[in-house]
Amino acid sequence: MQAPTAADLLNQQVVQQALEEAWHDSLPADPLGRHEEGGWVYVEPATAIVFVRRAPAGAQVALDLSAPPVVPGALVVATFHTHPNPSTEGWEAGPSTTDTASAWLFGVPCLIRADNGVYTTGPVSRRGGLTGEQGYPS
């Protein structure tokens, strides 16, 4: 079964809402408190329901999404996270080289909310489709 693409997921209201909530929680307007937030996007193949789980808060420029919670009957189809440091102060809004490398390593698209929009990197959709391991695809 074909997994949803990054573009498919960005059209889902639950994903849009998760990106906005993560952005708000990143405290982008607070120079001392801003930090990365994010989590994982899942699909339940039996029902096609899309939902998200949040990860613990990250640091100013890093977030650990390496261990998605196992949700019975559901598969991880993307990660999402924020880039809260402002592009007006010279920060790159788009994906870092590590964002891209880890997305290919995990085998799922990486969705990023920054101050000037939403970016994607990594595979177009979950490697191998909606089959395999409950966490990241092997």
Partner: protein, 76 residues
Amino acid sequence: MGNTVFILAGDQALAIAQADATKAYHDLSPYRIQLVLEEDGWHVDYELKDPRLKGGGPHYIIEAQTGAITSKRYEQ
């Protein structure tokens, strides 16, 4: 007798990068640093040691004769 061309030492280039990177990133302990002298100057690249993390580091090109930062990217 030819002119002597002054080339900034690698540790001096690193010190210039480190001073700027510390101001922007505060904690540089998660990064591995690559320092390479290329035709356009010293390239100083900070990459996360853990490739499974989301995030990024600063990247610099430092003019090898003057020590000026000619290119700077703050990845996140």
